[in-house]
């Protein structure tokens, strides 16, 4: 950059600005030597391999025929690849049943969680009221409660209420676990919506509730989707509470419990486990990766704002 830039008119500077936006950080590096760029690419490729290889291994083991599951072969597609493990885990182990169980519990809790969080986050974002900051700090504090800590009282409660071994018990146990964090995410997002929009609506005769319903909620669709996904993934991947609440009720295992049974200490169905793992993870991963941009912005907004 030449010194003449310093004397440029502000307007010309502003005109140049948008073009630079994307490349602004460490701009000097754009004069990087080929060697430096090569090193950067090599580091990134190296890390990509580290992050993807274990996944490829799951895939590779899932393709092995039953008698060769234990092998020291490192090739990604084994020479005698077969889909036998997929057939077995679906037809013999009841993977579909487990996935259905998980879906039923997960979608229910995610819907309940998002509705509860969306309304209360609006109150926290737009209104000053007594106890507001205490409540917000309390919500953050709940992040510090180890899951295992709530297990003992929840388990004993579930025994006393006859909820052990039922979906109902699991839905109830999950329902509020993600609410505090969801409120933070949504509050952070609502905070970025200018209040003028609602003020204008209220001047036109809308009630605050109508303003929330007609203006804030539609504008927050991306954040609501993120929150839903966040709630969804929390209960979809949950193992501990499910293990304690569902106990030994074979009929209603969620998929983490079901897959875990394939990996018992003495009887290991390694190939079937990996086939099941692929079938369970792939849809969720595609969903996650396609939404990741929005998820991150939602999470950072939530944390930056407070």
């Amino acid at each position: 950059m030449t010194t003449s830039n310093a004397t440029l008119e502000p307007s010309t500077l502003e005109q140049k600005q948008p073009k630079r936006r994307k490349t602004n950080f460490f701009r000097a590096n754009h004069g990087d030597s080929k060697f430096k760029r090569l090193i950067i690419h090599l580091i990134l490729i190296g890390y990509c391999i580290i992050s993807v290889y274990p996944l490829l291994r799951i895939f590779s083991v899932s393709l092995r025929p039953g008698n060769r599951v234990l092998s020291t072969d490192l090739s990604i597609i084994p020479p005698d690849a077969t889909l036998e493990n997929y057939r077995l885990v679906i037809y013999e182990q009841g993977l579909l049943q487990w996935i259905w169980n998980s879906l039923a519990v997960t979608i229910t809790t995610a819907i309940i969680g998002v509705i509860i969080a969306a309304t209360s986050a609006y109150a926290f974002s737009r209104f000053k009221f007594k106890g507001r900051s205490t409540l917000l700090i309390y919500l953050l504090t709940t992040q510090m409660i180890p899951t295992a800590m709530l297990m003992v009282p929840l388990y004993i409660l579930a025994i006393n209420l006859g909820l052990v071994g039922t979906y109902r018990g699991l839905v109830i146990a999950y329902a509020v676990t993600s609410v505090p964090f969801s409120i933070w995410i949504l509050k952070g997002y609502y905070d970025t919506i200018p209040t003028e929009l609602e003020e204008a609506a209220i001047i036109d005769g809308a009630t605050p509730l109508q303003a929330f319903w007609k203006i804030i909620l539609p504008l927050s669709t991306p954040a609501l989707a993120i929150t839903f996904l966040f709630n969804f993934s929390q209960s979809w991947n949950e193992y501990l509470i499910a293990r304690v609440i569902l106990g030994s009720n074979e009929a209603i295992l969620t998929w983490p419990l079901g897959l875990n049974r394939l990996m018992g200490q003495y009887l290991v169905q390694w190939g079937q486990y990996n086939a099941g793992a692929i079938l369970v993870s792939l849809p969720v991963m595609i969903l996650f990766l396609s939404m990741s941009k929005y998820m991150i912005s939602g999470l950072t907004l939530g944390s930056v704002k407070g």
Binding site: R27, I50, S51, P146, M149, L154, S281
Partner: protein, 334 residues
Amino acid sequence: MFDFDALIKSLSEVGSTILAVLLIVVILEAFLYLILVKWLKTKNALVYMLISPAILGLLVLQIYPLVWEGYISMTNMSLSHFFNFDFIGLRNYVRVFTEPVLKQVTFFPLFWRTLLWTFINVAFHVIGGMVLALLLNREMKLRGLYRMLIIIPWALPQVVAAMAWRGEFNYEYGWINIMLKQIGLQPVQWLTSPVPNFAAMCIVNIWLGIPFMTVILLGGLQSISGEYYEAAEMDGANNWQKFWKITLPLMKPIMSPAVILGTVWTFNTFNISFFINQYELESSDILVTALFRAAFQYNRYGFSAAFAFIIFFILLGYSTIFAKTTGALKGVKD
């Protein structure tokens, strides 16, 4: 493969649960409306009606169990004293520090190990995440592809990751030992000896956690205006100075909450330690897994309740101090 009756049964169970929740919310709102609007004519009635479902849920499913747990922690409740337990005051809290928590391991080794575990993981997450974020935050070819591949471990369900890694830590058939042998090193007893098992836990958790930190930090880097760097360049700053004097200070509002949450989450990470530790080595347990075992394998409910509160207060103390010193919670007061 698919039991149709079970399907109907699960649908009706789930449906009735949703209906019950809806009913409770409607009754609650109607009740609040009558009291706050019709009777007390409160100005802020809407606020309380908006937050009441969340408050009620948290009261019933979090506060009440916690208070009850506080009570249990002062009793000798266990499997043999499930109904006829006695009040024993604060004795459990003393026992946590004086008696073995599990078979042999006592509180302080567990505590130091958990601190080590948290420190190693968070340090690697932040440093690794920062390096990757800095590398990704520039115009280059394949950037989108790198970014997507790097966040894959984050999208993988944790249970799947933990179990798959455990399989790969197998002495003979896991790829880690196979590769170690190929480059001429000794294979490692990842699952059966204490130190390698702890290392295995760390490897898995670092692998899982770096992507999240990378994307959070990348988001932060992208929000820093380029003008700061232009100004610094004009003053002749080098990259190193730019990083310490511009990037790091400007990233602080994003990093400090991320570090607090990351620390708390790592401290409380259950799945990794629980699954990688296949042979239940007490030398690999961290506080939360020891808590689970004390409660559900040794069935010492009263004792583990006291243990749980001690863990909770450690975290609360840490977060309060950290938040105060970094001002991470300033936004709350707005």
